[in-house]
Symmetry: C2
Amino acid sequence: MTENPTPENQPQNDASERMDIRTIARLANVSIATVSRTINRVPTVNTKMAKRVWDVIEKLDFVPNTQARALVSGRSKLFGLLVSEITNPFFPELIQGFEEIAVENGYEILISSTNHDPKRMSHCIRRMLERKVEGVAIMTFGIEEPLLDQLAKRKVPLVFIDVGPDRPGISVLKVDYHHGIRQAVQHLAALGHRKIAFVSGPMQLHSAQSRLAAYTRSMNECGIVPDPSWIVEGDHTLEGGAAAMEKLLAQENLATAVLCSNDMTAIGVLHKLYRTGKRVPDDISVIGFDDIHIAEVTMPPLTTIQMSRFEIAKAAFDALQSQVESPNALIGKREFNIKTELIVRESTSYPRGTMEHLRKK
Amino acid sequence: MTENPTPENQPQNDASERMDIRTIARLANVSIATVSRTINRVPTVNTKMAKRVWDVIEKLDFVPNTQARALVSGRSKLFGLLVSEITNPFFPELIQGFEEIAVENGYEILISSTNHDPKRMSHCIRRMLERKVEGVAIMTFGIEEPLLDQLAKRKVPLVFIDVGPDRPGISVLKVDYHHGIRQAVQHLAALGHRKIAFVSGPMQLHSAQSRLAAYTRSMNECGIVPDPSWIVEGDHTLEGGAAAMEKLLAQENLATAVLCSNDMTAIGVLHKLYRTGKRVPDDISVIGFDDIHIAEVTMPPLTTIQMSRFEIAKAAFDALQSQVESPNALIGKREFNIKTELIVRESTSYPRGTMEHLRKK
DNA sequence: GCCCTTTGGGAAAGCGTTTTCGTACCGCCA
DNA sequence: TGGCGGTACGAAAACGCTTTCCCAAAGGGC
């Protein structure tokens, strides 16, 4: 009887040992079922009991194991969030909104940045599937068909921004590009511009095509036939914007304004213009798309088309949540429509040489 | 005998039903242990058997359940990553690096942005604990003591950037602020500046204090006694930078150069200067800190002090991984030292009115 | 006072894996 | 041929929790 390490006569738990609801149950002198019920706030447990349980939980600083919980309940309370490029400020702003809403609703999120690499995207999705996400929001402006099929097969609720197939279990957030872009073109036209260039995103992306289409349509609505040389492909990056502007500058029929597919592109354009000694908006007007935070402090502050990150995040989350939590697919079938709106700052003005331009001086 | 839904006589599995290694085992005519071993590439399994198992797995497109795996193995393969503000471009760049390394090593990461709110931070940590993260990288430039104790108690490996207690199980990435800041001050002094202002971060942050100390020390090394009015507190945001510059502009003893605690601040400063008609670097020189991507395309491009995000991400991950994977704490005790380095661009020049300034013209 | 209903709580069966332990089988040497 | 070591596989016990099922006790109506 020198040493007797049987668990029975060892009430002195020094915060060591492993901690689970069984331990709590023992210390509170209740069954593990009661502990579980208490933690999950099942109303049938007696207040007295509940207090006893909570006291022990707090004293031991017990944290339940989500994995075990997920395993048995079949609910991981995890959503995946896939973005194109986390270093593009548009996405962190979106992520922030999504995370906030998710946490409020008891979900955790797994974030991955695909960097436009389909293989990488495929890996991300695979990893998310392994973690048993209950749904994934794909905010990547482009996805390949086979991947999509693979996902659809698993019946994981999905939400896409802008593009995606119209199947049950899949929601698509439609973005009304045309509204904002028409406003931008009209704004430019009202200032007297006719030669309005467009720097697109990577053309394999559906969103890039939509934005280009909106530009073309808006130009036509203003009675302008765009010169093909005004349309140049960018890649949504700073560098791509600068390169695009360089091409534009080499054209004979030089545009007096340039509309960009996103703000990073616009900032690249602004920079190239600065480098070549052109003044914005005096020599040339520039409009961006997204309205990322730093667009307010470019020089000059950027006129841009806003697309609310928070609205997108909210819609995406709602779509996912309703698919997960309501068995009847009807509720999940809501149409989500994201609006876009022109924000006029100081990168747009009258084209050089027009009367308005002279009058302004 | 009209309907007989007993599971026994239903060998026709149509990809419906639930899928687990048991199903795989049945279909491949092996035990579940063998399936598990095959998936985990345990070398003792016969090639023949392995192929049989893999064939079934591929045919059914089976994905193992990480939660169950984690539950029994005790390894969640999850790290937490806590950042101050995901909308500050410094962090997405860091996150990207961290994610990449983590994924390469079979880990997943849970990202949270605290937005400088201690309560929020506490919640984030709690959630991470519930998910049973194996370690957390705290890149928040500031943490409260009680929280830290709570964490330390759980024996979750931790890595801090810049500041944190020196305890076993906790690594701290030391940043050599002084090197870069001294270079910056010397660069300015060599150009002829003496009145060098400093816009700090929020002073409750240890990192802000360190940077300020490095500034003061560097000034002294250059034989300059900083005027207290040159030192103003910012908050690491665009708006904070602009506000700080406004204060600076109101001083009698106007500085000819301003050194900022991060790039967002510097961009705010640049913008305020632009708004008040001052020219950079002709009227005043500006230096940032971080070298975020857009610092290359500000107008003018920002001279700044680089702190490698990738290096930080790598060091943080390594610290965590070695703590988790090597039982002997010695390996985890490595010192991590992050270097800083001045990058000279175009936001710095001779102070107005000096001979060099005139000569340049 | 008896029976039926309601309420609160316990026992135990999983959830999908890993892993330990045990066993069957094969080949080798004596 | 008998014994032995080693290898490849299977059975079953966890992992920490939820949830169903069931039972005991209390309450209420006649």
